[in-house]
Symmetry: C2
Subunit: 218 residues, 2 copies
């Protein structure tokens, strides 16, 4: 198959990989078994972005709201995040984990990655939101007033503005995904569940994105 | 036609009435002429919400980013907001205008409405965002620390959490619409331009909404 060509690509893509639990249930598995099947789609997507030269990608790992779920699920998505980050350190990436490290829900194994580190050539920025909370993110500014505008003091300040958000699993909401960076992001929803990821889903999102006008309200 | 029935309605609907300029151009009119045609759709929608007993509705009037547009357009959307609010004072509504009143872009005629006022029975809360800016909204908390959490100090604190956002005009982005209240809002996009509003568009959005699960991340 020939590679698709795009007249304009996003500089920064946000990924909401939803539907792991629904997928597991469809397969007759327990809900928590789904998260493990979400890792290899993430790397397929990462390879696609690398190939296209997309400079930055942010994955929604899990949120503080998600940690209210049953503990078997919580352990499973925490482990999936740790596994994904570990694999990524053997790839080509400038890696950053962003989330509330003060809470016991944050996997300790990921503490070293909360400052950005380069692996391989560092060709692409890859950000993981791990135990992320939108309130935590904005409260950080509120409690650490160290600049004129709140948006220069948020906890996720090292993550840039997002151009395109792609959510798998058919739900049309942002669910607290980086509210400041997502203000003018175009939002594309894939009907299929995340473990059923195909590169074509992402190609369709990019096809759609290239024809969106970028006005930023002007 | 019999009224549609819904098994669950949103408590609060956000409306992004986009496409006035594109509609005007399709009609061979100047871009700014479109805003005037956006007023009566707004009242048709208001009547629909009143009929269904939806308790709160927020209209995206214009933003601080929008005021960078040519002055003929700016005057036209400012006037459309003033006209809409004036008509509403003869209806049944608990009315509030929210926006940056410190700026000359805020129409002075609307200053009296920046505290909530009741007209008729006050059966429905109607909020208008006028010269609204997401940065302004969040910076208000940053600069007026008067509570423990930033989200209790934002400028739009009198507007509640939004369940459903409906955007006309086919663009799939929030464009700075109340980021805090929109965190878990379900987002429905109507292809038609706002001046082509039909009640059926809104019925379709409500039909879609009634089957969305509400998890708030749990």
């Amino acid at each position: 198959m020939s590679e698709p060509k795009f007249k304009r690509l996003p500089n920064h893509v946000g990924i909401i990989p939803d539907g792991n639990r629904r997928w597991a249930q469809q397969q007759g598995l327990s809900k928590e078994a789904g998260y493990d099947y979400g890792i290899s789609p993430g790397f397929a997507l990462y390879e696609t972005c690398l190939e296209f030269g997309i400079p930055e990608i942010t994955f929604y790992g899990f949120t503080q709201d998600n940690t209210k779920r049953p503990s078997a699920q919580k352990s499973a998505f925490q482990k999936a995040c740790v596994d994904a980050v570990n694999v990524l350190t053997n790839k080509d990436a400038s890696l950053l984990v962003v989330g509330n490290t003060d809470s016991p829900q944050f996997p300790k194994e990921l503490l070293p990655y909360t400052t950005r580190k380069t692996y391989g050539k560092g060709s692409i920025k890859v950000n993981f939101l791990v135990n992320y909370g939108w309130k935590w993110d904005l409260n950080h500014a509120y409690n650490n007033k160290n600049s004129k505008h709140f948006n220069e003091s948020i906890a996720s300040i090292d993550i840039s503005r997002i151009d395109l958000i792609v959510r798998w699993g058919n739900r049309r909401r942002l669910s607290g995904f980086l509210p400041v960076q997502s203000i003018y992001a175009d939002f594309y929803v894939v009907d299929e569940l995340w473990p059923d990821f195909k590169p074509e889903h992402f190609h369709q999102a990019l096809h759609w994105y290239q024809d969106q006008d970028i006005t930023l309200g002007g």
